[in-house]
């Protein structure tokens, strides 16, 4: 019998309960609770990694603190984007999200006890509909990539067609997830095109959806209007994946003709946390509302006529429709949409516009300066970019990034792994957390590295054994 601070029973509690059940007391009685499990299956757990007994809380805190210090990226100025962004999270976001009335609550299937979570969901849906220029949004799916995949599945349900057309400039991971998901549909294809023109000149038969990203993975801007025309001609669904911050300055995709707009809410008040949890949003036109996957919050009335909120249209969902559901999804990202909703309420329309504009201005400022260095060139010369930009470096990217990292700068996302056609490519982004001082340091550090006055570390991997770079104050 183990005493543990998360387990309330004393030995005498357990004995009293065993006696009430009619079982012998002590360990024998406890063991007899498992008599239905064949004896051959009842074995002590191996402890090759799991400890035999638990750790005390002070030791746990020390261990986690130690693990955090092993992330040598900590404190460095982050110019990395590629679908996740180091953006400012106002303190009030975390204060609210730390309220255990929110984070230890169950899914709001019982509306009388869950109006808080439900109203947040409703407010979130409205904000996403506003940002995207569409009628209706769901209360989130797992992340931006899954949202693209779910939108593709949704387009298949609407059109019954089997070809999905996409562009090379859509996030490679989003395309990867979509490929994984649509394979379940059987004889379908996900076809990737180099640009809008190539896509619109393809065979127009049997197209379920056109999937684009705006701004695209490289920060560039697609011709949504041309794709809308193509979709009109082919009766296909137009799916646009969008960075929500960018919608502070870019036209809402719904206004440009998108049928479904999706994206990731990470930039809206959510931690980077090495990949998650984030949250995918999905918005669409009223006519396609009943094909949305996942939870939806609707307004309702109680039996006295008082306005309130409830999960609604649940007959789309797996717990009612089982194998005929619009998706298998059950969990949503309730705590993450809470953060996004608090964030957008704090920031407001002017704040969002300011942050989007700031990111555009800073990224252009930085790229203008970086591309003045010898051999540094924009990959998409002359094409507009929003707040990410793909540049070519005259030296191996990983060596340069390792040297920058040693000076407290995470210089961007290398493109070679994701796009072998850009072996020297680097994706750079600026946010409100990459300060002008960080940009100055980036420019001078890169200048020194490229001119050979800073020694690089070969393949960039050996620096793991090197001493940790001095912590540089980050504005986080």
């Amino acid at each position: 019998m183990v005493m543990h601070n998360f387990l309330p029973h004393t030995p005498s509690d357990r004995d009293a309960m065993l006696a009430a059940i009619g079982l012998p007391t002590g360990q024998a009685g406890l063991d007899s609770l498992f008599d239905d499990i064949p004896q051959s299956l009842r074995n002590p757990l191996p402890t090759s990694t799991l400890p035999q007994s638990g750790m005390d809380e002070a030791s746990l805190q020390s261990l986690l603190t130690e693990l955090a210090t092993q992330n040598t990226a900590s404190g460095k100025a982050c110019f990395m984007g590629g679908g996740a962004y180091a953006r400012f999270v106002p303190m009030a976001v975390n204060t609210i999200a730390s309220r255990s009335e929110f984070y230890t609550a169950y899914t709001p299937y019982q509306p009388e006890m869950s109006q808080g979570t439900l109203q947040v969901g409703f407010e979130f849906q409205t904000m996403i509909a506003e940002l995207t220029g569409l009628d209706t949004a769901n209360a989130s799916v797992y992340d931006g990539g899954v949202a693209v995949a779910e939108a593709a599945m949704m387009a298949h349900r609407i059109t019954k067609k089997t070809r999905f057309l996409t562009l090379n400039s859509v996030h490679p991971h989003y395309r990867g997830i979509t490929q994984t998901y649509v394979e379940g549909l059987g004889e379908v294809s996900l076809e990737t095109f180099a640009n809008t023109r190539a896509l619109t000149e393809t065979d127009t038969s049997n197209v379920a959806a056109v999937i684009v990203q705006q701004p695209n993975f490289f920060g560039g801007v697609e011709d949504i209007t041309a794709l809308r025309s193509f979709c009109d001609a082919t009766k296909a669904i137009l799916i646009v994946s969008s960075d929500p911050t960018s919608l502070g300055v870019l036209e809402a995709p719904g206004k440009l003709g998108a049928d479904i707009v999706v994206g990731d809410i990470q930039p809206l008040g959510n931690n980077l946390s090495y990949g998650g949890p984030y949250g995918g949003f999905m918005a669409t036109k009223t006519q396609y509302m009943r094909q949305l996957p996942g939870r939806l919050v609707g307004m309702a009335k109680d039996k006295d006529g008082r306005p309130c909120y409830t999960l609604t249209m649940q007959t789309r969902e797996q717990h009612i429709r089982r194998e005929k559901a619009t998706s298998n999804i059950c969990t949503n990202q309730a705590l993450n949409i809470l953060k996004a909703t608090v964030y957008l309420t704090l920031v407001g329309p002017q704040g969002l516009k300011h942050l989007a504009n700031l990111s555009v201005q800073r990224t252009h400022h930085l790229v203008d300066r970086l591309t003045q260095l010898p051999g540094v060139t924009p990959i998409f010369e002359g094409q507009p970019y929003v707040f990410e930009c793909a540049i070519n470096l005259p030296k191996p990217v990983n060596e340069v990034l390792a040297a920058l990292s040693a000076q407290g700068i995470l210089g961007g996302v290398p493109l070679a792994d994701l796009y072998p056609e850009y072996p020297n490519g680097l994706l750079v982004t600026c946010t409100e957390l990459t300060t002008p001082e960080h940009m100055d340091r980036y420019v001078s550090a890169l200048s020194a590295i490229l001119s050979g006055t800073t020694v690089t570390n070969g393949n960039g991997k050996s620096s793991f054994m090197a001493p940790t770079a001095p912590a540089v104050a980050c504005s986080l």
């Binding site: 387990l7 029973h9 309960m17 008599d35 757990l45 402890t47 990694t49 035999q52 007994s53 638990g54 986690l64 693990l67 992330n71 990226a73 996740a84 400012f88 009030a92 975390n94 609210i96 309220r99 255990s100 984070y103 169950y106 019982q110 009388e112 869950s114 109006q115 109203q119 409205t126 904000m127 509909a129 990539g145 899954v146 989003y174 997830i177 490929q179 994984t180 549909l185 949504i224 502070g248 090495y274 998650g276 949890p277 307004m299 309702a300 009335k301 109680d302 039996k303 306005p307 969902e317 717990h319 298998n328 969990t331 957008l344 309420t345 704090l346 920031v347 942050l355 555009v360 390792a402």
Partner: protein
């Protein structure tokens, strides 16, 4: 020009009409918006600005101002604090929610959130600069091998249902690789299964073969034998079943399925009943998912986020999602050299925060503690069962695992209007969240009760007393039960009308 306030008034029909004397519990943020109010101070642009029209030449810029709220910071904070108070939560009260394992979320498991080194790490950071987080992921993978008995683990799936999808995709990939996929098209699912099981298998393109459970909710061996054959790809089982009983014949079931050439999927929803006591891999399962928010106490968050680790045998390991965390004896790294992988299911590295919490939880308990977790979970369920067996009908009244199912037949016999839903809603008036109702589908008027191991005897005794009091009310004042809840912020909700005339957006409400 219409002001925002006028516009709000125009778009708030729900506040007018026949409900004019009733206001919502808390006005929405859109109702409270005051144009020009500031909620947060933001950094200045800080570089010489150029017109956006110049920088984004030819790009369609936003033509409207999105109608997001504008509020001062205190008003924002107060709004959300008020909303929080309308929720029931684990930290505030008891949830006897069968199949949901609403246990205490230990606070030390939130500690990672205090560490910017973990929370501010970009997911594409080079491995060399993210060794701490990679170590968290790799170590949790290894620990889950100990806990489940499987040979390989992925932490990429975002939640249990996505874990199911991944598991079934891997079964599919295995049969594709071995040239059997055209033949093996069927996934067998008992009628007592969670809805996600058939939904996940259907998303992978399998045909669902539903088999009737035995009256006690366990697998009917004859029904199973009747459908097993050359078209069987696999079976999805929850063990203990959703009626809270352990499949005593599990070794026979796994032999039958394997002999037919199929694979066994373990739905980890009820893992809390056996964690530390027995292991799914030892029972003959080939693949399973874990819901970290159930067994390993990561918070439900009001519906998410989750994390759905998938554990597999060596036979299925080649099909794991890519990439997977690995260790070469010196450093941790992402291994994407997985040529037979089913591919990627999540944009980045999975829900890292949930992994950090689950790892903390496992370290806090160790192997000995986990066994006590399952033991106390089962003890608590049996204690409640023993104390309510004379009051409510319990169809399979025997030693159960971590949960059991009773029904409202006796109470319905007292008054036609009484049913399971009334009794569940009446619990709210006593400050207790309803139990799981009308699930599993095979049990009539089901009330499924799972207290979990973290509730003390006093809480259980209180719940038992409340359930007996409600039974008394059913006899003496049935209308009080039928019309419950009475003390919640709102009365019973008309969900039917809400679904028929959906109002999902503040600015286009038509309730």
């Amino acid at each position: 020009m219409i002001t925002a306030t006028e516009q709000n008034n125009m778009t708030r029909p729900i506040l007018n009409g026949d409900t004019s004397d009733l206001s919502p519990l808390q006005p929405s943020v859109f109702d409270q918006s005051r144009p020009g109010a500031l909620g947060v101070s933001l950094p200045a642009v800080g570089v010489i600005e150029q017109p956006l029209e110049t920088l984004l030449q030819g790009v369609r810029l936003r033509g409207d101002v999105p109608r997001l709220p504008e509020m001062a910071q205190l008003d924002v904070v107060r709004h959300f604090v008020k909303l929080s108070k309308l929720n029931h939560s684990i930290d505030g009260g008891f949830y006897p929610l069968g199949s949901c394992t609403m246990k205490y979320n230990p606070k030390v498991c939130d500690f990672y959130g205090m560490l910017p080194g973990l929370t501010q790490l970009h997911p594409l950071t080079p491995d060399v600069d993210s060794q701490g987080s990679l170590r968290v992921i790799y170590t949790l993978q290894e620990m889950l091998k100990d806990v489940t008995g499987f040979d390989a683990v992925t932490l990429q799936p975002a939640a249990g249902a996505q874990g199911e999808l991944v598991g079934i995709m891997m079964i599919k990939a295995h049969f594709k690789k071995t040239g059997q996929l055209t033949q093996r098209r069927q996934i067998i699912v008992p009628d007592s299964a969670h809805g996600t099981n058939p939904a996940s298998a259907a998303m992978c393109g399998f045909d669902i073969v539903e088999i009737k459970s035995a009256p006690n909710g366990l697998v009917d061996l004859d029904a199973l034998k009747a459908v097993l054959g050359p078209s069987t790809a696999g079976i999805m089982l929850t063990n203990p079943s959703t009626l809270g009983l352990f499949e005593k014949d599990i070794l026979e079931i796994s032999r039958l399925v394997h002999d037919a050439g199929g694979l066994l999927y373990y739905d980890g929803a009820n893992l809390n009943a056996i964690v530390g006591v027995a292991r799914p891999a030892d029972m003959g399962f080939d693949v399973m998912h874990i819901n970290t928010h159930k067994t390993f106490a990561t918070p439900h968050g009001g519906g998410g986020p989750g994390c759905g680790p998938v554990c597999v045998t060596a036979q299925l390991a080649p099909y794991l999602p890519s990439p997977n965390a690995a260790f070469d004896g010196t450093r941790y790294f992402w291994d994407s050299n997985l040529p037979d992988s089913i591919g990627r299911v999540k944009t980045f590295n999975g829900n890292f925060e949930m992994m950090a919490r689950a790892l903390t939880y496992l370290l806090a308990y160790g192997a000995d503690g986990l066994k006590q977790v399952a033991t106390d979970a089962v003890l608590n369920a049996n204690y409640i069962r023993s104390q309510l067996q004379d009051t409510y009908e319990i169809p399979y009244n025997r030693i159960c695992m971590h949960e059991f199912v009773m029904n409202s037949h006796k109470q319905h016999a007292m008054h036609d209007g009484l049913n399971t839903l009334n009794i569940a809603k009446r619990l709210m008036d006593y400050g207790i969240h309803p139990m799981t109702v009308y699930f599993p589908l095979v049990a009539h008027e089901a009330m499924m009760i799972e207290p979990t191991e973290t509730e003390c005897k006093d809480t259980l005794d209180h719940f038992i007393a409340v359930m007996k009091r409600i039974d008394d009310e059913c006899r003496t004042t049935p209308d009080v039960v039928i019309n419950a809840p009475h003390t919640m912020p709102i009365k019973k909700v008309d969900e039917v009308t809400a679904a028929r005339k959906p109002a999902l957006n503040f600015y286009c409400c038509t309730v």
